[in-house]
Amino acid sequence: MTTIESPRSGKIGSGKIAPKYNRSGSSRGNFEMIAWLFMRLSGIVLVVLIFGHLFVNLMVGEGIHAIDFGFVAGKWADPFWQFWDLAMLWLAMLHGTNGVRTIINDYAEKDSTRFWLKMVLYAATLVIIILGTLVIFTFNPCPVVDGVQLPGGFCPAP
């Protein structure tokens, strides 16, 4: 009777090298499948959001010459662009973080290296998502400090 070796037993003949799996398995349910699906779904949405962002900010009118504080203030006066940029921020950060997480998992072989690189990544992601969200929602197009309007503000005529 022929015994069929497990693919990871390292005993398979015919010149093939069976990979020896050194990582400890973890039971994370179907997290990886959800992450895989998220990359595809968020990817489709991001193509629309980012192409729209680039077109409106760089291709229309004066393009990059028009970008200054007033340009951002004018966009975020409209809830449509607030929501657009918020969705773009969250989806792009989560999509990018999961991509870099995959790359760390692929190339960092030591358990502790992998762990710490991912901790740095998650900390950076958390800071950027919270900061960006606060900026979009607490943005003031007409900032006033000590009763004086800051120069360059986007203020309605008094």
Binding site: V47, L54, L58, F69, G70, V72, L89, M93, G99, G152
Partner: protein
């Protein structure tokens, strides 16, 4: 003995090199995104701080950098749609090579359009 197992998608040639390109462009875009959120956050500091930093971006070297970044974004976007087609369309894996050539053709057209418009605005004066 077969030199190459059948049914490989990510080993060698178009399948592998597009995967390499997808990883590299992805990392580049991610690090830009971190910086881009930080520079945009300056609108919360003061109008002058934001306009000053954006003004510093408006030079020919940065215009080339932006053009390179958008080249990376367009490739990552179209190749990402190709990956989705490979995973979800039943003939996707069979036509993955042809799909890559479509991606590269679309990339060339879209990038040429962007580069001509953006560089003539950025380098052509005001």
């Amino acid at each position: 003995m077969p030199t190459k197992p059948a049914g490989t998608l990510y080993r060698g040639r178009e399948g592998m090199w597009s995967w390499v390109g997808h990883r590299i462009t992805g990392v580049v875009i991610f690090f830009f995104l971190l910086v881009h959120v930080l520079d945009t956050s300056l609108v919360r500091v003061s109008p002058e701080a934001y306009t000053a930093v954006i003004g510093a971006y408006k030079n020919p070297l940065m215009a080339l950098g932006e053009t390179g970044l958008v080249a990376a974004i367009i490739f990552h976007a179209f190749n990402g749609l190709r990956v989705i087609a490979i995973d979800f369309w039943k003939k996707g894996a069979k036509y993955q090579r042809q799909l890559l050539w479509i991606v590269l053709a679309l990339w060339l057209v879209t990038f040429a359009g962007f580069a001509i418009r953006h560089l003539s605005l950025a380098l052509g004066g005001h």
